[in-house]
Symmetry: C2
DNA sequence: CTCGTGAACTTGTCAGTGTCAAGATAGGCC
DNA sequence: GGCCTATCTTGACACTGACAAGTTCACGAG
């Protein structure tokens, strides 16, 4: 086994994110992660310090991906909202980590930057469709975030193979005055 | 130390809920809990089987309290929504456990009953203000649940002493056609 | 009263975890 | 060559959740 893995840091982030999507944050063990990557149990600590360091890196990566997805969806609030939900439901583990703030380093610069980027993109869509007030932006964020977390927690009853996109679009449209599409 | 504590089960649930409100679910250790209650490290297992049993009991208790709070708030959707948010923000630990389904026993009868009771009360308020469609009920639930979880995760920027109630009322009102109170 | 039966609780143990300290290795720069 | 620093390993510690087996106690039958 070579001493220098070469790309250990990236490997660990990818493996960890995949493991979290499969089995949840709490089931993620640093030691098992190290085993999967073929390194010793203390190798991850070198790159991330401790568990929160790893999760913070994953969360920052998650906000970057979310910002990209929101940007690609365009400026319409409903479409951005659907993109938000799609991201959350397709990568539930990453998404959960992003908002489990007690597990993260509070003032990590990379995390804060990524979070701000995603937030401002979502807010710009909301301002166009609803208004500029704080409550407008928060209402937009709340309804898509709430739907996403409820769906991921299994609280929303649905057919076994139902895809959340259509439902999310309907729900988000409820917030836009005069645009009660579907339903 | 008396062998028979007498009210160990209730004591453990109360202590655990308080500890969770203070330091989060993940920081809750069965052994520390037992220490606090003055019993041996294996005593909790007798009453709850394992960790998920304890958390399931706490979650069921939480849904009962939530249902009570929603019922007391009346049938108006906005007021019920504010009550939902108030419950979530005043007892954040309990609230978090209730939706961490991976930590709970999936088909516990007491949990299911309490959850259904709370759900139907919230839904009845939504139907009156919005409509009977699935998306109407989900939009109502999503916006208040989203606001509550975002607030609890610290994602919403606010003054250090700001109380979420007024903001929650404003946000919830955004969903009701023609009732854009505040903002 | 005594006795035994079962619930409530304890003691002991196990594999597993996160974190820390100290040692080993190797690539790059003089 | 020789050193230096980042990278990774080895070893240890205190802690955890879960399990098995033993101990104590309340209570009802006889």
């Amino acid at each position: 086994m070579a001493y220098h893995h070469g790309r250990l840091r990236e490997t660990l982030i990818d493996e960890a994110a995949a493991a979290i999507d499969e089995r949840g944050v709490d089931a993620l063990s640093l030691r098992e992660l190290a085993r999967r990557a073929g390194v010793s149990h203390a190798a991850p600590a070198h790159h991330f310090g401790d568990r929160s360091g790893l999760l913070t890196a994953i969360a920052a990566d998650g906000f970057e991906r979310l910002a990209d997805a929101l940007g690609a969806a365009g400026t319409d609030f409903v479409e951005a909202g659907v993109a938000y939900v799609r991201f959350a439901t397709e990568e539930p583990g990453r998404f959960a980590v992003m908002f489990r703030t007690e597990l993260l380093r509070p003032d990590d610069p990379a995390l804060e930057a990524a979070r701000d980027r995603a937030g401002s993109i979502l807010a710009s869509g909301a301002v166009g469709a609803l208004g500029e007030a704080r409550a407008d932006r928060l209402a937009a964020w709340s309804i898509v975030h709430g739907f996403a977390t409820l769906w991921n927690s299994g609280a929303i009853e649905s057919a076994p193979d139902e895809h959340p996109d259509a439902l999310a679009r309907e729900v988000a449209a409820r917030l836009v005055p005069g645009a009660r599409a579907g339903g």
